[in-house]
């Protein structure tokens, strides 16, 4: 950290801070996020995040839909990691209704989750680089290439490329087709090469290092107190991953590590994501080897009527811990549903991360948190 030189020196150059409204219409607010930034020249004095422009009332809508019909809604939360949202929701409903998922179904879910994680982290890093000012999108377009391959696989299993609606209570909507496994195998074999390419393009880039190292630090204590999760928390040096801390699905059968950062700056958040991609590939490799035969989905009645009760199920989405709190009154629709939004909670610490930095760092730090407004506003 550089010396904290005070802005008001003896020279006494009279300046006046001014308010700059960033967003909701701004190219790098990742949707319709708005920041009311108080600037002193280029330096951020204060920042107030304002959200709610994309509020669709998903939690309330869920109360009017059957348990199955809620799944398409969850696609529209973290729209760059819909599979993980699906998983979080079906997991809490399964907990609520006490449903056992066949092993093959669990493995398919894990494979989808990890593919989703790679894809989402690619997008997070790509857009982060974009926010840093790769003004013609080169890293992002390289990353789109690999994401495209993952989307091809998703299209193969569920017929869509963004709103998958793939997971069902009790398993997944359809078993993977037979051509899926060879493609996955090839992807897992190829991917390290491409990650190495990104590393060559970015890892030692002096401009990138200067722009990210030490910038937007989220200290460990603040990260914990702000209830941050996912790569944002791990970059601050906290080893907390739901896959390890509260193993769900079949994650306890895989051997993988939880990469953490030291400082909690933008650079660490970017590194943690790159390292997590490697870990996801490890999990995919093991899942392919252990992939069992059998049913992909439990036999269940079309309309679920869980017993009166409540359940909270959580999974580690690429953005962090996403949980669904579902209450049942023994009807076909949830009595109440609440979402624990990882991106929104990660975003709450934004002010503490950027005050004192420049305007450009606001955008970069904001990009490094990796949010999707669909989930922040719900």
């Amino acid at each position: 950290m550089e010396s904290m030189s005070s802005l008001s020196t003896d020279m006494e150059l009279k300046t006046e801070p001014f308010v700059l409204n960033m967003g909701p219409q701004h190219p790098s607010t990742h949707g319709v996020f708005r920041m009311r930034v108080l600037l002193d020249g280029e330096v951020v004095v204060d920042l107030e995040p304002i959200f709610g422009y994309l509020h669709r009332g998903i939690e309330k809508l869920a109360e009017t839909r059957t348990y199955t019909q809620v799944i398409p809604l969850t696609d529209r939360l973290l729209y760059l990691s819909s599979m993980a949202c699906n998983h979080a929701y079906v997991r809490s409903v399964e907990k609520l209704a006490g449903i056992h998922v066949p092993e093959r179904g669990e493995y398919i879910r894990v494979i989808m989750d990890e593919l989703m994680r790679i894809s989402s982290h690619l997008m997070a890093v790509g857009f982060f680089l974009n926010d840093l000012g790769c003004s013609v999108y080169t890293p992002l377009l390289y990353m789109y290439r690999e994401r495209e391959k993952i989307l091809d696989m998703f299209e193969m299993v569920c017929g869509q490329r963004l709103t998958y609606n793939y997971m069902r209570v009790g398993g997944v909507s359809g078993d993977v087709p037979e051509e899926f496994m060879p493609v996955l195998k090839r992807f897992v074999a190829e991917m390290p090469h491409f990650i190495a390419e990104y590393e060559q393009l970015l890892a030692e880039n002096e401009i990138l290092l200067a722009r990210t190292k030490g910038v937007g630090v989220l200290p460990r204590e603040l990260a914990i107190n702000a209830s941050a999760s996912g790569p944002v928390l791990r970059a601050s040096g906290v080893k907390w991953d739901i896959r390890k801390a509260d193993p769900y699905s079949v994650y306890d059968r895989f051997d993988f590590e939880v990469p953490i950062g030291q400082v909690g700056d933008n650079y660490d958040r970017y590194r943690v994501r790159i390292m997590e991609m490697h870990q996801s590939l490890r999990i995919l490799e093991q899942a392919m080897r252990q992939f069992p035969a059998g049913e992909a989905c439990a036999k269940l009645p079309q309309l679920l009527r869980p017993a009166v009760g409540e359940a909270y199920g959580r999974v580690e989405t690429p953005q962090g811990e996403m949980g669904f709190y579902v209450v049942s009154d023994n009807s076909i629709a949830p009595y109440r549903m609440h979402i624990r939004p990882p991106a929104l909670l990660n975003l709450t610490a934004l002010k503490d991360m950027v005050v004192g930095w420049k305007v450009a760092d606001v955008i970069a730090t904001f990009g490094s948190i990796d949010i999707a407004m669909g989930e922040v506003d719900r």
Binding site: V45, C134, A210
Partner: protein
């Protein structure tokens, strides 16, 4: 000028002024097309390929679109300044070409005795237009962009001029045509460090690539031209690419031997164009690869890295000129074996000393 049928200065002036305007406008279109086509393979895609074969008419289509757009002036704008700014921004770009030798001794005034000085002076003027645009729009983003451009232009002018001085030292003249004539060996071979500094400073000077802070579409949206539309916006676009063309032309003249090349008495102009495109390709390449610098890094890099290096380069070149320059009226070719390692060592050593300052600033909210 014996073969010139008109012989008359004013006829020469009129013809070349017109030719330069047409040349700049056409080349800007070609540049826009070339850049967008070059981005394609860099990013594994095709680039524009719909309007005519290879998308060659894409800039024409864009021009028509932009000309037909509504011209919007914000209610809070300073109307006159807002109106004049694009013109002030674009005019210096055209003026630079007055002294550029397109062919041996051919140009508007290629033999102007203070040619390169004129280029430096004129090209710095366009910052006024940009700042006028930033200030007059009555928009905070554009004001930020305008403030940034002043700081950037002023600080990068210095290393730019210093690297030009090294060229002038070797060539022994300020006239663009004579600098070209002096290049038996292109100067980028003799002075790799000088060329590198010139290229980086020129990139910052024309606000492209990693130095596009004044536009910075991810931070301040579009900076100074956020409130411009239609024809006025097109003027800024024209100025941006025209400036890129001008800087490529100057770099080609100063470091790549301008129109010189095999058979230059006939196809000198083609050599010149080829070199311009090569320089422009370098600019595109840098733009496609790098993220943007931050404003304080930009200043730090300019003053703490480029400026001392440029000074050292001037000293090294001057010393070499004293020792070897007298012998046969120019730098010997083997000087490259001294200068290239010297450049690498200087860059390496200075990069050890150089640290980006300015991190977090304490503020009282």
């Amino acid at each position: 000028m014996d073969w010139w049928p008109l012989g008359n200065f004013w006829a020469h002036f009129a013809v070349f002024a017109l030719a330069i305007i047409v040349f700049v406008l056409l080349m800007v279109m070609v540049f826009i097309w070339f850049e967008r086509r070059a981005f394609g393979p860099f990013q594994m895609r095709w680039g524009p390929n719909r309007a005519s074969p290879w998308g060659a008419l894409q800039p024409v289509a864009d021009a028509i679109k932009v000309l037909l757009k509504e011209d919007i002036v914000p209610a809070v704008a300073d109307k006159w300044v807002h109106f004049i700014a694009p013109v002030v921004g674009f005019l210096p770009v055209l003026l630079i070409f007055a002294v550029v030798p397109f062919h041996d001794g051919h140009g508007l005034i290629p033999d102007m005795s203070i040619g390169i000085l004129y280029v430096v002076a004129i090209s710095a003027l366009s910052v006024v237009g940009v700042f006028m645009a930033g200030w007059s729009s009555g928009n905070k983003y554009s004001l930020l962009g305008g403030m940034r451009v002043i700081a950037q232009m002023v600080s990068y002018e210095v290393p730019l001029v210093l690297s030009i001085i090294s060229v002038v030292l070797v060539a022994g003249s300020l006239s663009m045509n004579e600098i070209v004539a002096a290049q038996e060996i292109p100067f980028f071979v003799l002075m790799p460090l000088g060329f590198l500094i010139f290229l980086i400073a020129a990139m910052a000077e024309i606000n492209r690539g990693p130095f596009d802070l004044l536009e910075a579409d991810s931070e301040i949206v579009a900076g100074f031209h956020i409130e411009y539309s239609g024809m006025k916006f097109a003027m800024f676009y024209l100025a941006e690419y025209g400036h890129a063309l001008a800087m490529s032309a100057v770099a080609a003249t100063l470091f790549f031997g301008g129109w010189r090349g095999p058979g230059d008495e006939y196809i000198g102009f083609l050599w010149f164009l080829l070199k311009v495109f090569f320089i422009f390709f370098l600019l595109i390449w840098a733009r496609v690869t790098f993220p943007r610098l931050r404003v304080d890094h930009l200043m730090g890099f300019g003053w703490k890295f480029l400026f001392p290096l440029a000074l050292m380069n001037v000293f090294v070149v001057a010393a070499e000129m004293i020792v070897w320059g007298e012998i046969d009226g120019g730098m010997p070719w083997w000087i490259v074996f001294i200068n290239l390692p010297a450049a690498l060592v200087l860059i390496y050593l200075w990069s050890r000393l150089f640290r980006f300052g300015g991190g977090r600033v304490g503020v009282n909210a």
